[in-house]
Amino acid sequence: MSQPTGPASRSHARKQPAPPPEPMDVTLTINGSRKTLRVAPWTSLLDALRLHLDLTGTKKGCDHGQCGACTVLVDGRRINACLTLAVMTEGRAVTTIEGLADGEALHPLQEAFVEQDAFQCGYCTPGQICSAVGLLEEGQARTDDDIRELMSGNLCRCGAYPNIVAAIRQVMDSQPASQDGGTP
């Protein structure tokens, strides 16, 4: 997709290019506060967060939905922010890594990731943690193999996977049983 032109490219040279789209207003809740953004409809939620809101905790690792670094929670569900247009989140509640801690008190998963050394470079980490929050909410994971499978949309090039599983396991084990009562 990065190779726009070439000798064999479409004969679009003759066509007039479409003008860039006009910006639109989008109102959504981000980490608990209501925001109105003026963004073009071609802006992804990921770029809106990183560039318009300076919430750079959400990472861009591929921009193609192949790595999970941009995982955020929309209405509590984990999604890839790079595959979501900002305008699609009108009226929705978006939670990013910046919104997980309660003031100075880290979210239990954030604590567990530090304790278990579940990262090295830290770049995939916000996505891993948001994904893990979504995973616990889904309540489908019971075994370590379940965690591995259900966390496989989040790549970690440093290879911290065993520690990521340990961190999630630590939080799962400390939670009341009702948390994993979801339907398999």
Partner: protein, 756 residues
């Protein structure tokens, strides 16, 4: 935890910070989204660049039609070879600290296309989306020439390189007559290997944000393994003084070698910022992450001869590796085979073949990760032929000196790695015949291999500033691409001055800090850690001197050696009740701050007299589905001897992560070239497979005790590379044990297993 108690060492005292499994000091920033990476420094008026890449592998650009892109409101400029400002002519202006011999690639220099995906234009616009859109409107016409991207064909013109890159040693001269010994050997194996191209693919894509200040100075946030390397490159290429370019890169989202050389997004962002007098960011796309350096494709032959009792009589290791047309990228692939085992007849040969690709680039354990698996698979094949336990065969030919040079190792606890690793894995329970450990339709295999890497040290400088409140700030212009440099350096400094960890901070990633070498080759702890130790030792001596000079103080007349530094106090060894806090010492001397700087210089003389290296023994269990050919690596034990371990928690993570890399190398990673187009066709994470969570199971890391006072004053060798070396061989050998199939082409994908 590592050092033996036989040698007295102030670092081993109780309460020492060194050797403690401290959680990362930057952990909180990384789990809250507070750590800022190169593309995350937002600044008012920031413009965005998007790169257009070549659609052909070799030839010339005839025309670039930028009219439609430029007609869009908000598009600021399109830079091409036709409108770029004047750029330096001499190669030396384009060289960087990791450049091999040759002529470095120059983006937008002229109309020549050297390799596929070469950056040929930069669109700069008010928004990222607009720049991306405008890039698609640029029409380029080319005149394509024939390209050569087939290593087997290119190897017909292979040549022997010289000492063409820093740290590279050409293979030693042959000893004995290996070909004759092979022909006369009682038992022999002769195997051919291929190693696929691999791309580094750190999770953070390469990006540079260049902030333009009104006085014409620049602040550069770059994805780099060395801020000073970035600074030098920008200054040389754009003819700027060092005062006018400051590089600030506190966090790097992985690199594994990709940040050892300035990549073209840095050039592009700086070019646009300087020309447009605006702040500019350029971030590569994931497909563009396949447009620069990579682990080179390699063809190898390893032939071994032995007596029936397993004594090695012949070792032959030949390798042909790709390089570009413009530079001689070299790495040490074959030399290890003359170093690992005792053998009188050894012939090692290393050649390069030129192809129309971007110059390859160091990737985690460059050379060793390619060469050692070939040797270690051949050793396993020889063991199978001899009917010997492969561990026994390795012990039979074990060497205490480096046979390439005759020098003794400064330390080599590989035997201990074998013993502890085998015990932990349960190796003695292995049934040695292939296909003898099945579970239903799953064939179970156990394999092992040895790993080795250098223990290098470079010069480095560190500064330190101690406040009267007992807070210490230490700094050096290194990077932390993920190993935990912030944490390890903080521990070393806290340890020496006896301060709690939270009173110490370490600064890096800033070109204003004192000189540090590139972060790579597992030498940061050794190089920068030694500088941190040196500067803290000086502060220690200064404090001791200040305390000794206080006539009415309790430490009057005592020397640093007479004192212990702990919990912010200077304490007399003779009587612990004689003590002063750092604050008291400084106040009594009317000092608010103590500052110093120190350079660490390797023990060249003793290092020259020794072979320096890290070693490992890797044991792996695989399950191969008999019907589908799928492989699961269910268990890995990696026993590592790497001197003193500064932080066992982060070091374990490094080795564990490197084992994951080894799994990728063994089973998944391969950048496949479409030979008709001369370009990589699987250039994204959907098609270029790296291990995911479900691919990784139990990984057990053991650090064996190893004392070494030659490698550096800390005795720490570094563990960034050793974890990967040998892992692909252990897995390939386990696959042989499971299936009876000897697979020598990496990665071992399921089609290769089914077809073998």
């Amino acid at each position: 935890m590592i050092a033996k108690p036989t040698i007295p060492d102030p670092l081993d005292r109780p309460g020492s910070q060194i050797g403690k499994p401290v959680s990362r000091v930057d952990g909180r920033l990384k789990v809250t989204g507070g750590a800022k990476y190169a593309a995350e420094f937002n600044t008012p008026g920031l413009a965005h660049g998007y790169i257009v890449s070549s659609a052909i592998a070799r030839g010339r650009i005839l025309a670039v039609d930028t009219a439609k892109a430029l007609a869009l409101p908000g598009v600021l400029q399109v830079f091409t070879h036709e409108n770029r400002p004047s750029l330096p002519w001499f190669d030396r202006k384009w060289k960087d600290d990791d450049a091999p011999k040759g002529s470095p690639f120059r983006p937008l220099y002229d109309a020549t296309i050297h390799h596929a995906l070469q950056p040929i234009a930069l669109v700069v616009a008010e928004s990222f989306e607009l720049a991306r859109y405008a890039a698609r409107l640029i029409h380029v016409t080319y005149e394509a020439d024939d390209h050569q991207t087939d290593l087997r064909e290119a190897s017909a013109h292979a040549f022997t390189p010289g000492k063409d890159k820093g740290g590279f040693q050409p293979p030693p001269k042959p000893r004995g007559d290996a070909d004759r010994a092979l022909a006369e050997a009682e038992v022999s194996v002769d195997l051919q290997f291929t190693q696929a191209v691999e791309h580094h693919n750190p999770m953070e894509m390469h990006a540079s944000t260049v902030v333009y200040h009104n006085d014409g100075t620049l602040t550069v946030h770059d994805k780099t393994q060395g801020p000073l390397n970035t600074q030098t490159y920008v200054c040389n290429v754009f003819d700027l003084s060092k005062d006018s370019v400051r590089v600030i890169s506190p966090f790097v989202g992985g690199a594994f070698g990709s940040g050892l050389r300035p990549q073209h997004q840095l050039f592009m962002a700086a070019l646009a910022a300087i020309t447009l007098k605006r702040s500019v960011r350029v971030e590569l796309t994931r497909p563009q992450m396949f447009s620069f350096g990579h682990r080179p494709e390699t063809l190898q032959r390893v032939a071994l001869g032995a007596r029936k009792d397993g004594t090695l009589t012949a070792v032959i290791h030949e390798a042909v590796q790709e390089t570009s047309q413009n530079e001689n990228y070299v790495e040490v692939v074959v030399n290890w085979s003359g170093q690992q085992y005792t053998c009188d007849n050894v012939r090692l040969d290393y050649k390069l073949a030129r192809m129309d690709t971007h110059t390859p680039l160091d990737q985690r354990a460059p050379g060793a990760a390619t060469g050692i698996p070939a040797l270690e698979i051949a050793i396993d094949a020889l063991a199978a032929k001899l009917g010997m336990d492969p561990l026994e065969l390795r012990l039979k030919n074990y060497t205490e000196v480096d046979p390439n040079t005759g020098k003794p190792f400064s330390s080599k606890e590989l035997r201990t790695c074998f013993r502890q690793g085998a015990e932990r894995f349960g190796w003695h329970k292995r049934s040695h015949a292939p296909r003898s450990m099945r579970e239903g339709r799953q064939l179970v295999g156990w394999g092992m291999a040895t790993g080795v890497w250098d223990a290098m040290q470079g010069q480095a400088v560190a500064s330190a500033r101690l406040g009267i409140d007992g807070t210490l700030t230490v700094g050096s212009a290194t990077a932390d691409i993920g190993p935990g440099t912030y944490t390890a350096m903080t521990q070393i400094a806290a340890d020496i001055l006896g301060l709690p960890i939270d009173q110490v901070s370490f600064q890096l990633g800033d070109s204003n800090l004192p000189m540090a070498p590139l972060q790579g080759g597992s030498w940061t702890v050794s190089s920068v850690g030694s500088a941190v130790k040196a500067v803290c030792d000086r502060l220690r001596d200064k404090l001791a001197g200040l305390a000794a000079g206080l006539n009415d103080g309790p430490l009057k007349g005592l020397r640093a050696d007479d004192l212990v530094f702990a919990d912010g106090f200077l304490i007399a060894k003779a009587d612990p009740s004689w003590r002063m806090s750092i604050t008291e010492v400084m106040r009594a001397n009317d000092l608010l701050v103590l500052e110093d700087e120190a350079r660490s210089i390797p023990y060249y003389k003793s290092q020259m007299q020794h072979a320096l290296g890290t070693h490992s023994a890797i044991f792996a269990e695989v399950r191969v589905d008999e019907d589908l050919g799928t492989v699961q690596v269910t268990r890995v034990v990696s026993a590592v001897a790497a001197g003193r371990i500064i932080n066992p928690k982060t070091a374990r993570s490094q080795v564990m992560g490197a084992v994951v890399w080894g799994i990728g190398m063994a089973l998944e990673e391969e950048s496949m070239t479409d030979q008709s187009l001369g370009r990589f066709m699987n250039h994204d994470f959907g098609e270029y497979h790296i291990p995911v969570n479900a691919d990784v199971h139990d990984i057990d890391v053991i650090f064996v005790e190893e004392q070494d006072d030659i490698v550096n004053p800390l005795g720490a060798k570094g563990v960034g590379e050793i974890g990967i070396v040998g892992v692909p061989a252990a897995i390939a050998n386990a696959i042989y044990h499971a299936t009876g199939k000897r697979l020598c082409d990496l990665p071992i994908t399921l089609d290769r297993i089914l077809e073998a």
